[in-house]
Amino acid sequence: MIDSAHMVLMVATVLFALGLVGVLTRKNVVFMLISVEIMLNAAGLAFVAAGSKWQQPDGQVMFLFILAMAAAEVSIGLALVLQIYHQHKTLDVDRLKELRD
């Protein structure tokens, strides 16, 4: 019987995988961002689990950092999203192909 930490880790892994699939499959930039958020949170969850395993606060500390970072990231992300919509009148990533060989 595996301990709870590893259970949570599995959950986190599943979340992470889901996020990844989301990033891969969604064409809309916003949804991609959301999926990335999911992945980040999955990582955070994993940290919490680890922290609980070792009975340390570090895991949760790390989680806070992650949240902050995610927030910053998303804010810039959304700013860019606005710009993109402003310029391309779409949020479809497959239209963003100006830069290429």
Binding site: A12, V36, M39, F47, Q56, E73, L80, Q87, L96, E98
Partner: protein, 477 residues
């Protein structure tokens, strides 16, 4: 936190204040020039502080940071690069329509992040530094939102970077799960006691992914070309030098802590990556007509070379530093030329724009040529001893496969460098180059700094001995 530790962190604190100072200046509606100069002074302050605290080194700041000669070297490298980037930025942004001021905040924040990476000995500090770096980079890349697809570049970088940091975090989590610590050294120790489990290895793998992404190692390199092309020239220079230097520093530190080079698995992985980088980078660049993209590809190849030094363990640190130094000087002078030639409308990144540059403005062409020769590793330029030392390190560890691949791929590389050079020297087109109105002082300053860079390249190429000794001395403590 003792006084000494505080002292040791002084340079980084100054770096941090630089950003704040800029914010204040902006608040007081100071002009671009003022900001520029202040930033310059602050950076010099950082260097001075570094010099001032040098004999208190090395100094641990547990649990997160350690300031030692290694860190000092890399930070110095970073600051040096930022100085030049800042100078270029002025020229570049001076007569752009956008307001360039906030740019400097981001610049210094990113620098801080990269500097923090060099002194981090803990996952948290690693994470903070990395994110500081990348978050400010998102903004920097997309800073000129209406010019050559900056936004697209920024978006691509953002999504991929966020992705990679997700991987990084997850990897960290796994390792933390296994070892119960987030200090590199502790991890190393835990590893020796309780061998490496699957989870741990996966953790390492995921971290490698993140690092590889930042260093644009194959196969995580796909963003590089687009971002290089989309970002403003100075920012591109920044990405190519500062961010990569920082990341490479932390990679080395981490590897030393957990003895990555003893782990056959990691060695195999990095060997494959190195070979892939060297070949892919050079082959991609072969027919590239856009100089910024071409430099992106060549930088991929160059980090492939660096991995060879990295793989040769502690013997490779010295060569790595030298190589990074030569490499950043070279790239900065190259991007300096690009910046100088860029117009208000678009960056001068099309090779055809460089036809016969030598006969129009010999100095620029000479600088550019020497930079390219240095990238190609031709003697009389810094690139040659750099590549030579790396080869030395590689051969010393009997990594013949890597050595041979390095040689062959650099022959391939030679072709496209020669292609650019022969364009520079080709018969000039009839169209005359446009005149630009610039603050003469900065114009002169930029020119002189570029000339200085060129001289540095030549000097390093002919007498590398001095620097080599210095580096060794620094790495001692």
């Amino acid at each position: 936190m003792t006084h000494l530790q505080f002292l040791a962190l002084l340079p980084f604190l100054i770096l941090a204040t630089a950003a704040i100072v800029v914010i204040l200046l902006i608040a007081f509606k100071q002009s671009h020039t003022v900001i520029q100069i202040t930033g310059f002074v602050m950076m010099c302050g950082v260097v001075l502080a570094m010099w001032y605290v040098r004999d208190t080194l090395p100094r641990e700041v547990p649990p997160l940071l350690v300031v030692d000669g290694f860190a000092a070297l890399f930070t110095g490298l970073i600051i040096f690069s930022v100085l030049v980037v800042g100078l270029l930025s002025y020229i570049y942004f001076e007569e752009r329509e956008e307001n360039p001021k906030e740019y400097y905040i981001l610049l210094f924040l990113a620098t801080l992040g990269s500097a923090v990476l060099t002194i981090s000995r803990h996952f948290v500090s690693l994470f903070i530094g990395l994110e500081l770096l990348s978050v400010s980079l998102y903004a920097l890349i997309a800073y000129l939102r209406n010019r050559n697809n900056a936004v697209e570049a920024g978006m691509k970088y953002l999504v991929l970077a966020a992705l990679s940091s997700a991987f990084l975090l997850f990897g960290m989590a796994l390792i933390y799960m296994e070892t119960g610590s987030m200090e590199f050294t502790a991890i190393g120790r835990a590893l020796e006691t309780s061998g490496s489990s699957v989870l741990f290895l996966m953790g390492i793998g995921l971290i490698v992914v993140a690092i590889g992404f930042k260093l644009a190692l194959v196969p995580f390199h796909l963003w590089a070309a687009d971002v290089y092309q989309g970002a403003p020239a100075p920012v591109t220079a920044f990405i190519a030098t500062v961010s990569k230097i920082g990341v490479f520093a932390v990679l080395i530190r981490f590897a030393q802590a957990v003895h990555l080079q003893q782990n056959t698995l990691a060695v195999t992985v990095f060997t494959v990556l190195a070979i892939a980088c060297m070949l892919t980078g050079n082959i991609l660049a072969l027919m590239q007509q856009n100089i910024k993209r071409l430099l992106a590809y060549s930088s991929i190849a160059h980090f492939g070379y660096l991995l060879v030094a990295f793989l040769s363990g502690d013997a490779g640190v010295g060569p790595t530093v030298f190589y990074l130094l030569a490499y950043s000087i070279t790239l900065l002078s190259a991007f300096g030329i690009i910046t100088l030639l860029s117009t208000t409308r678009r960056d001068a990144d099309d090779l055809s724009g460089y036809r016969g540059l030598f006969w129009r403005s010999p100095l620029m062409a000479a600088i550019f040529t020497i930079a390219l020769f240095s990238l190609a590793g031709i003697p009389l330029t810094a690139g040659f001893p750099a590549k030579f030392f790396i080869l030395t390190a590689g051969v010393q560890q009997n990594m013949w496969l890597l050595a041979v691949v390095l040689v062959l791929s650099s022959v391939i590389g030679l072709y496209y460098y020669l292609r650019i050079i022969s364009t520079l020297f080709a018969a000039p087109p009839l169209t005359s180059v446009k005149e630009r109105t610039l603050h003469p002082f900065f114009y002169a300053a930029t020119y002189t700094s570029l000339v200085v860079l060129m001289c540095l390249l030549a000097w390093l190429g002919v007498f590398p001995g001095f620097i080599v000794d210095q580096v060794q001395a620094f790495l001692q403590f």
